[in-house]
C-alpha cells in the first residue's frame, strides 16, 4: 500500500513588499514541493494581497531599460503574484499546492 503523502500547512498574514516574510514563505513552499510534500497555504489579512494581479513592476527606467539589473525572469523583479503563480504551476500535479485566500 502506498504511503500517504504528508501535507505542510502554512498560514501567512504578511502582505507584499512590507517584510521579508513572503519571500521566506515562497522559499519554504518551493523546498517542500521539491521534497515531495503537498502544501496548503492559507493567506489572510494583508496576505490576501500576495496574489493580487493589480501589482505592476516598478516603472523607474533604470529597472526597465538596464538588462544588467534584470533577473533570470528577464526583468528587474517579479511581483509576489507572479511568484505564487510559478509555485502553483510547480504544484499543480503531485505533490500538490493549494493556495487559499
Amino acid at each position: 500500500m502506498a504511503k500517504a503523502r504528508k501535507t505542510l500547512h502554512i498560514t501567512v498574514t504578511a502582505g507584499p513588499y512590507g517584510s521579508e516574510t513572503p519571500v521566506s514563505v515562497f522559499r519554504l513552499v518551493d523546498a517542500a514541493l521539491d521534497k515531495g510534500y503537498d502544501v496548503d497555504v492559507l493567506a489572510y489579512e494583508d496576505g490576501v494581497l500576495l496574489t493580487a494581479k493589480a501589482q505592476r513592476q516598478h516603472d523607474d527606467p533604470i529597472w526597465t531599460d538596464r538588462a544588467e539589473h534584470h533577473t533570470d525572469a528577464g526583468k528587474a523583479h517579479s511581483t509576489t503574484a507572479e511568484f505564487v503563480a510559478r509555485l502553483l504551476e510547480k504544484g499543480k500535479g503531485a505533490p500538490h499546492l493549494n493556495w487559499f485566500v
Binding site: 521579508e20 516574510t21 521566506s24 519554504l28 518551493d30 523546498a31 517542500a32 521534497k35 510534500y37
Partner: protein, 109 residues
C-alpha cells in the same frame, strides 16, 4: 517529551532573543529543541557581536541545536570569518525536514 522547532526571524536586538529564551525554558522541561535562525535573526551569528555570542553560548550550554539560514546569512554579508562557530548553516530543505519529520510542534516568531 516533545520535539520543538523554533523559527526566529527577528534581529536579536529587536525581540529576536525570544526564541532563545523560550528554547532554554523548553530544554529545562526536557524537550528537544531546534532553533532555526531566518531573516534578521541570523545577525545573532555574527562573530564579535557580543549579545549574539552570549545568546549562542547560553543556547549551546542548554543543549539547543542552532541552525542559521544560508541565504539570510549571505544577504547580510555574514559568512566566512564573520560567522560564529557556534552555529551550523542550513537551507530550506533542512527546515522542511525539521518541520515535517523532526518536530511535533513548530513556532514561527
Amino acid at each position: 517529551m516533545s520535539r520543538y522547532l523554533l523559527i526566529e526571524t527577528k534581529d536579536p536586538l529587536d525581540g529576536g532573543d525570544y526564541s532563545f529564551e523560550l528554547g532554554k525554558q523548553l530544554r529545562k522541561d526536557r524537550h528537544e529543541v531546534s532553533l532555526y535562525l531566518l531573516q534578521d535573526a541570523v545577525l545573532a551569528a555574527r562573530r564579535g557581536f557580543r549579545f549574539g555570542e552570549s545568546l549562542l553560548t547560553e543556547a549551546k550550554s542548554s543543549g539547543l541545536i542552532v541552525l542559521a539560514d544560508e541565504i539570510s546569512l549571505r544577504q547580510r554579508g555574514v559568512s566566512g570569518e564573520r560567522l560564529s562557530g557556534e552555529v551550523r548553516t542550513a537551507g530550506m530543505t533542512e527546515l522542511v525536514e525539521l518541520l515535517m519529520e523532526g518536530s511535533e510542534k513548530a513556532i514561527w516568531h
